[in-house]
Symmetry: C2
Subunit: 479 residues, 2 copies
């Protein structure tokens, strides 16, 4: 199964790895190998099994360096892995080899209150960072929906987005510096505790979102912000998808405020959340909900903002404006929003979770085309996402098993991706390309761009040991 | 003078270029060649003359593409040039060849109110973008001190900073997409009108700050924001440099607000501005001034913020808090801050304008060391800069001509750069490396990083025709 350019993991390899990182940090039993070979993309999405030959659990940067130096010398593929919450198959060991799991590198190394930074290892759970910062009156702005489980290293690898991108940007916007191990084992730092830097190419942010294909990140310095004094969530039901979607961009342009979140859920998604959480949500018969989060230090201003945005909603066809201004109601609302991917996985035997991003003004067209295509191919849809930044999770759902589901998905995605590209959009806003979308890269990238990706990849990783088969098809694939 | 790997510009070349872009868009007279061969780094900084062999003025992307394709095929160096306001020699034609001046590509192509973007050509003056956005009630957050003259293309090439970085980030934070011409003439787009993107490597932001060494930018899509309703500037004199510098980070940590600017001027700088502008500034005998800009939509909140920050200033040793809440006083204040580089150029026969950036907490150490070194080498200093983001323009000044000034600068910078690196800082926060600082790159980059810069450069520009001699020393330098 290993492509010819790579060497297999042998008994000798396992002994060598054990000598480098300790016996207890190397696993080769089939149960572990399988457990560490998938993320949240369901196995049925792949045409064959992709199984790690060994799982290594580094405890230090030195461990990572030693493993990479060894793997590079011996041409063994290495796939870095966070918590496995990814939605693009980014951590799937396409070419076998070693999966490098970061669960043992989970220390928060420093919170620097003077420079407003936090330094962490890649295996720290995202929510731990938020919590640690909050205890010091500071905000970590990264907020992926999977933040209670995801590792920050995975957030960096995929440039994760989430619920606060409209105001604070994606994970990359919070990254100031990375300690990274290059494929030959060299340890270096890109960036620093510096708010700006015009010294050489910006490799720190090239590595962010590179899906573990260029270098392996071992420490991360993140920017923190003053914690807003008060946060309010508005849940706003609309009669139909179109009225909610049309309204969303007006929050900024006419409401004269940059909310920290503008989230969208269609009616199907609302009812999925109710079923999954076994709860009742307000206006659950609405065509769509927006969740609008406002932040501020002054309660009066926040109240004014809330009233202005609320009035704008009601004047634009909203059925109601619910204010969640305490932790209980706010938690309930966000639990509903954040459970949606899980809910789909629980209730549908076959599905494809998409991550399209378009200019915000084009969201209505994207929604209309999605509905048209789902009608054409006779499948269900449930759509939700970060409408404030043009990122829509279009979800293609099969309520029942059917043998041709994969062909239908392929045919539908062919049309949907081409349409997305035609309106200035692209394949992924925050989940990444990984294994799931690499065959579609040529739909949105021209030949020159594909060639540049290939060349930059080789500039960092000449032997192509790092996460082969991701982002663009790899030469070792047997093509 | 042309390094061996490159071909000289001949009469034939000039005829060919004229055929590609029109005769009136090619200049070879010595006056023009010299005029387009310098930026704001004074000629006396270089050990020899660097003169373009031809200056080309493209009017369209097609012109740029044709010139690059020709130059690449014939191994003629090409140095892209904005308005020549750069402070690192980035636009100096180190290896001769063609200077590509963008003054004729100065159209604002679109202001998209739905997506809050503006699309411009690289020759648009930065202030024109600010003005155009403002007329539509929108903010373009890029605000370099040279914005009234600089071209936005140059801002992108150097990842220019300026006065609003502490809140809005550098030019790169406003860049959504670039149309770029690769050295072989291929025209492509990196990014799009998308607020996020996890589709392939982030080449758009790799090109930002790459000093014209990877590709030539021909169109830029910039992000706009809602215009804040009201802006207030505070001018805060302090008795000495240390008290101003120590106080600056507390504006955010204790003041619980992110100002749009936190600028610093030492006493020498204040008096330089007075002399240059022939004016009197308040508290001109103070040891240092801070300029703090606050923005907001609600006048009451802004008044509260202002009072809170003002009280904090006074409790921390400030001599006074002047409020500039109208255009006249605000303009006067910013004119003083923005004229400083020019003032130095006017009054000192020899100088070096530096652009150090350190973790904000280390600014006091940097200032103390600067003063120590200037004392040791017997020269003057005037320091000002963007203290809110740790970026200090340390300026080394010779009040009189002296033959050994260059040796003194070299010896002082040797020590100063090493010290800066030792406290987590680096060579440049916003001016770039260019020709001025490339020999110091190895002080802040290890061998692996230098090698990666070289490889990525070659991945984009295998024949090294784009802006040779910048950022890292070029193989054609005769070394």
């Amino acid at each position: 199964m290993t492509p010819a350019k790579y060497s297999p993991v042998t008994e000798r390899t396992v002994l060598d790895l054990a000598a480098l990182v300790g016996k207890s940090n190397v696993a080769v039993d089939m149960e572990k190998r399988i457990a560490y070979s998938y993320d949240e993309v369901p196995r049925f999405s792949w045409d064959r099994e992709y199984i790690a030959e060994a799982v290594v659990f580094p405890e230090t940067t030195e461990h990572v360096s030693a493993v990479l130096e060894y793997a590079n010398r011996n041409r063994i593929p290495v796939t870095p892995r966070g918590a496995g919450t990814g939605l693009s198959g980014g951590a799937v060991p396409f070419a076998g080899g070693i999966v490098l799991s970061f669960e043992k590198m989970r220390r928060i190394l420093e919170l620097d209150k003077k420079n407003l930074t936090i330094t962490v290892e890649p295996g720290v759970v995202t929510a731990e960072i938020t919590k640690t910062a909050r205890q010091e009156g500071l905000l970590y702005a990264g907020d992926p929906c999977s933040g209670d489980a995801s590792f920050v290293g995975g957030n960096v690898a995929e440039n994760a987005g989430g619920n606060k991108v409209v105001k604070y940007g994606t994970t990359g916007n919070s990254v100031l510096a990375l300690e990274a191990v290059l494929p030959d084992g060299t340890v270096t730092w890109f960036g620093g505790k510096r708010r700006k830097d015009a010294t050489g190419y910006d490799f720190a942010h090239l590595i962010v979102g590179s899906e573990g294909t260029l270098a392996v990140v071992t420490k991360i310095i993140l920017k923190l912000l003053p914690l807003p004094g008060k946060v309010v969530d508005l849940l706003v039901p609309f009669p139909d998808v179109a009225s909610a979607i049309d309204f969303a961009p007006r929050i900024q342009s006419e409401g004269k405020v940059i909310p920290s979140s503008i989230e969208f859920m269609d009616g199907k998604s609302i009812r999925l959340a109710e079923r999954f959480l076994n709860t009742v949500l307000p206006y659950d018969d609405a065509g769509a909900h927006l969740v609008i989060q406002l932040e501020g230090n002054d309660p009066n201003v926040l109240a004014d903002d809330m009233e202005r945005i609320g009035d704008l909603c009601l004047a634009s066809g909203a059925l109601e404006v619910f204010v969640a201004d305490n932790k209980t109601t706010s938690d309930k609302l966000w639990k509903a929003r954040k459970c949606l991917a899980e809910a789909i996985m629980a209730f549908y035997p076959k599905y494809s979770l998409e991550d399209l991003v378009v200019p915000t003004s084009e969201i209505p067209k994207l929604m209309a085309e999605t509905t048209r295509l789902c009608g054409k191919y006779g499948i269900e849809e449930a759509n939700f996402g970060h409408v404030g930044d043009g990122n829509m999770h279009v979800n293609l759902l099969f309520p029942e098993e059917r043998p041709d589901w994969h062909d239908i998905i392929d045919a539908l995605l062919d049309e949907l991706y081409d349409f997305t590209a035609s309106i200035g959009g692209t394949l992924s806003g925050e989940h990444g390309i990984g294994l799931k979308r690499q065959k579609y890269m040529c739909r949105v990238m021209d030949g020159a761009q594909m060639e540049l990706i290939r060349r930059v990849k080789l500039a960092f990783d000449p032997n192509e040991i790092l996460n082969p088969g991701k982002m663009i098809s790899c030469p070792g694939r047997g093509e």
